[in-house]
Symmetry: C2
Subunit: 108 residues, 2 copies
DNA sequence: AGTGGTACTCGGTGATACGGAGTACTGAGA
DNA sequence: TCTCAGTACTCCGTATCACCGAGTACCACT
């Protein structure tokens, strides 16, 4: 698939929120999950910048735990603000994708 | 609706391509059409930057015609490269939106 | 003469995904 | 023992994009 980076802007962060919302997890695993989900070219550096942003914006709770298999991990989970943001993200996505699909089907 | 600008990145240009692909048209009208299609906050300046980019990238053919109702209009139509780009855009959109919808439905 | 609608250009801003280099810890194989 | 691969995170810089504001210009109507 062609380069998706521009199209991912604004949506990738929402995807990360969704993944975190399911269960407490950490950056390395999130990257792997995104890759498996079809976001094949998303790289670790990108995910970590998103995670730092989420933390800075107060949308997640962070817990550092030793790993046993490498350096310690930073586990992320959503707080109330994060869940609210996730809801807003899906509302925006639904709105946008419905308009674009309508345009695609010939709506004018 | 909340601010969609980040989510529009990468998709708005494709929407403009789609509109141009239907019939030769110009910036002012494209803006109005986008607004009616639900992209309510898209402003003229944004559309014009996209049109200049399309022109610079050689995806459109441009014809200037006097207006009778204001300054002359720059009419845009797709050339072969533009049609190819439009096809790629829809392929990317379908790919991306299917992945995200799957994620939304609980896929993992 | 002035106002409002039409129509385009240009320079700058902020947000985002990406890329690369660097750090650091663990365990397995040469 | 030494190296290498895998795990895990940070930081700094880049490119691209949508947006915004100011400016220019043309026309019609009052």
């Amino acid at each position: 698939m062609d380069d998706l980076t521009e199209m991912l802007k604004g949506t990738l962060e929402g995807c990360v929120l969704e993944i975190i919302g399911r269960e407490e997890t950490y950056g390395y695993v999130i990257t792997r999950q995104l890759n498996e989900l079809g976001f094949a070219d998303v790289i670790e550096g990108t995910v970590y910048t998103i995670l730092l942003r989420l933390e800075r914006n107060g949308l997640v709770q962070v817990t550092k735990r030793p790993s046993g298999m490498g350096p310690p991990r930073k586990f992320y989970s959503l707080n109330d603000a994060g869940r609210a943001e996730l809801g807003k993200f899906w509302a925006k996505w639904e709105y946008l994708s419905s308009r674009i699909d309508k345009l695609k089907e010939g709506g004018r």
